[in-house]
């Protein structure tokens, strides 16, 4: 029984943390850049693809590949912000459509560039370890630890640094923040950079565990949106709680029921949260 309980908890943690990094990026972008970046999952995909290309085709070390993927995805993201997303700040509908265009181009581009069939990335860690009598994969444990560390770092950055204060100020009241001398443009750029780095690291870390395909971004993004909505808009700790809640709920429901029930209940809870408290459990009022 304890064995089962521990597995459920570990699975839930993993599910939650694997979408946390992406959800963090979406929530920051929504709060600060005022755009629902549904193309955010594509950076996750791009990074995983580049990690695959570098390790399997070029033959670089996995960690070097991860670094390279993060850099490339970030440069790509900054370019996108500079030339496209910036125009649609606060424009929900046009921003959505522009992001759809980006999704179409990136998904198809990646398929044509890297090839259609799903790919597997050789894992840098092998073998199992035993946690309290429950066998568990080393690579998953490393991913768990790393994403927790990154999430905590992001939380600290947003809560306790000057940059974080400026970001929160922009998300709460843009006009007042500008009056205080905060450069809205550079905060937007930094947010985009942070979001891309988080998504790219997530993609690179997940790549060896699952398969890499050009279409892996959108499903994860939808789940990330759920985590964001349940936890709260534009609030880092809210998203952390939301993501862990989503992961745990899914793990429990799949184990006692089935995957469809899990997804259905999850999204229904989400609708309930949206109706009762549209800003999420811990959310601040984000710009509409």
């Amino acid at each position: 029984m304890t064995d089962l309980l521990l597995s459920v908890v570990l699975n839930g943690l993993f599910l939650g943390l694997s979408l946390l990094l992406v959800a963090l990026g979406i929530t920051l972008m929504l709060g600060i850049m005022r755009i629902v970046n549904i193309a955010h999952g594509e950076f996750y995909m791009l990074s995983a693809m580049i990690v695959w290309y570098m390790t399997a085709s070029v033959g670089v070390n996995y960690w070097l590949g991860l670094l390279g993927a993060t850099v490339i995805a970030s440069i790509f993201g900054l370019g996108l912000e500079r030339h496209l997303l910036r125009r649609y700040r606060g424009d929900l509908l046009s921003g959505f459509v522009a992001c759809m265009a980006v999704i179409m181009i990136m998904q198809t581009g990646a398929s044509l560039l890297f090839g259609f069939p799903p790919k597997s990335v050789p894992s840098p860690f092998h073998g199992n370890i035993t946690i309290l009598g429950t066998p568990y994969a080393t690579e998953r444990l490393i991913v768990l630890l790393m994403s927790s560390a990154i999430a905590i770092a992001a939380l600290l950055l947003v809560q306790f640094t000057k940059l974080g204060r400026a970001m929160r100020a922009v998300s709460q009241d843009e006009f007042a923040a500008a009056l205080q001398g905060v450069s809205i443009g550079s905060i937007c750029r930094l947010t985009m950079l942070l979001g891309c780095v988080l998504a790219a690291v997530a993609g690179g870390l997940i790549a060896p565990i699952f398969l890499v395909s050009a279409f892996m971004g959108l499903p994860l993004l939808l789940k990330g949106l759920v985590a964001m909505v349940i936890g709260g808009w534009g609030s880092v700790e809210g998203v952390i709680i939301g993501a862990l809640f989503v992961g745990m709920l899914e793990s429990v429901l799949i184990t006692i029921g089935s995957a469809e029930i899990a997804t259905m209940i999850l999204f229904s809870i989400l609708i309930a949260v949206l109706i009762v408290r549209p800003t999420g459990l811990l959310g601040v009022e984000a710009g509409q």
Binding site: V8, P117, L211, F215, P219, I254, T255, I256, A259, E260
Partner: protein, 397 residues
């Protein structure tokens, strides 16, 4: 306002002009419909298989084409994107059957909406998915039949792996018609071979994280874990091993080698029905195909691609044996009665041998291979006659 209205009217008028230009069939050419989801999430697995079909068409043409009634015809591929939606499927079926006048379509997609058009029009469909019970007279399935793979694998394990001591089997299937049908077929197979069937766990088709499902099924401690429909088989094998599963893991399906090899070192010893191109057990036709596919497209073909490739040869041979390129009734008769020499080996229609409610499959040779050192290694080959015998012994004639 006026201009806008004019624009709309012009747009409507421009429609027929733009779409009206479609090439009529030339004499001496047989159009072959190739309807695959080339865009959207499923294109990741479907688009590479579509290329295998085109490769088959090219190879048949290079080898002289199709000889029917003293005349030689060339095959002309008509590739369409069915988008894996009912709407797209009906659209492409209409286009292939009524515009391009195809008599045989190789289909990867939603077979049921396609059938609503192709069956009344008496156009033959060679479908890749799903394995269903409602196929009409003109619809065949050209991929591995789970009615064949199950008994073959079960018999092979019993005879060649007695050390594995398999007494109980738990299956994990995807939650759709083909997965459910496979689960039912396997229950009969397990009963025949005296295995305890611990039931089936149904999962969404795109599952990649099997940990939650494994947390549910592993405490039951089955001797063998099997799937007949989960494409991400390698991940399942790897994750089961990571969770400390020690028993046998088997796949009876036509997956991508990438999918199987995703198991990595953890999936050592996992059994599958994939062809190993390097093994001498593999037929020369398959080896040739894999070599030319690699050369043409710089990637590895899936076992499904091999069977789709095989399907085009079946179509060509059926036309030759029926002695017609137009009369689909005669072709269906030939397909159901004759034996065909295909790249995979001798093949014939097997659906009729089974009781009603079985898919209209072809009996083709089946490979049995093992994952060794991260690569697929061939272990055995069951000829079509052996497959038929194993199948009939379980399900009856």
């Amino acid at each position: 306002m006026k201009r806008i209205v004019t624009l709309a009217a012009l747009l409507f008028l421009a429609l027929p002009l733009l779409v009206g230009a479609c090439a009529p069939a030339q004499a001496g050419e047989i159009p072959i419909g190739i309807s695959f989801p080339l865009t959207g999430p499923l294109s990741a697995v479907a688009a590479p298989d579509a290329k295998a079909v085109e490769l088959a068409v090219t190879k048949i043409n290079e080898a002289g084409g199709v000889r029917v009634g003293g005349r030689t015809y060339k095959l002309r591929p008509v590739v369409v994107d069915n988008k894996y939606s009912s709407e797209g499927e009906v659209g492409t079926a209409n286009k292939l059957i009524f515009e391009d006048k195809v008599k045989i379509t190789i289909l990867w997609g939603l077979t049921l909406p396609h059938m609503t058009i192709s069956e009344p029009a008496k156009s033959i469909t060679f479908s890749g998915s799903p394995s269903t019970k409602v196929y009409g007279k003109y619809t065949f399935r050209i991929l591995y039949s789970n009615a064949g793979t199950g008994p073959v694998i079960a018999r092979w394990i019993k005879e060649k792996r007695p050390g594995a001591k398999v007494a109980s089997v738990l299956t994990m299937e995807k939650d759709d018609m083909s997965g459910r049908a496979s689960g039912e077929l396997w229950a009969k197979t397990a009963a025949y071979y005296g295995l305890k069937d611990m039931g089936a766990e149904y999962l969404p088709p795109a599952t990649e994280d099997f940990y939650p499902a494994l947390a549910k099924v592993l405490p039951l401690n089955p001797d063998m874990l099997m799937t007949s429909s989960i494409a991400q088989y390698g991940l399942l094998a790897k994750q089961a091993r990571e969770r400390g599963y020690k028993g046998l893991i088997a796949l009876q399906w036509h997956a991508f080698p990438q999918y199987i090899e995703a198991a990595g070192p953890g999936g050592e010893g996992a059994i599958s029905t994939a062809w190993d191109p390097e093994s001498e057990l593999t037929p020369q036709g398959v080896k040739d195909f894999v070599a030319s596919y690699r050369a043409a497209y710089k990637m590895e073909p899936s076992t499904g691609a091999i069977l789709f490739y095989n399907g085009v040869y079946l179509a060509a041979r059926a036309m030759e044996k029926a002695g017609t390129v137009e009369d689909t009734d005669k072709m269906v008769k030939a397909l159901e009665a004759e034996q065909f020499d295909t790249p995979v080996g001798k093949a014939w229609f097997g659906g009729k041998a089974l009781s009603e409610g079985m898919p209209r499959d072809f009996t083709v040779p089946i490979a049995i291979s093992e994952l060794k050192g991260g690569k697929i290694k061939g272990l055995a080959r069951a000829e079509a006659s052996e497959v038929a015998e194993a199948r009939d012994s379980v399900f009856g004639k």
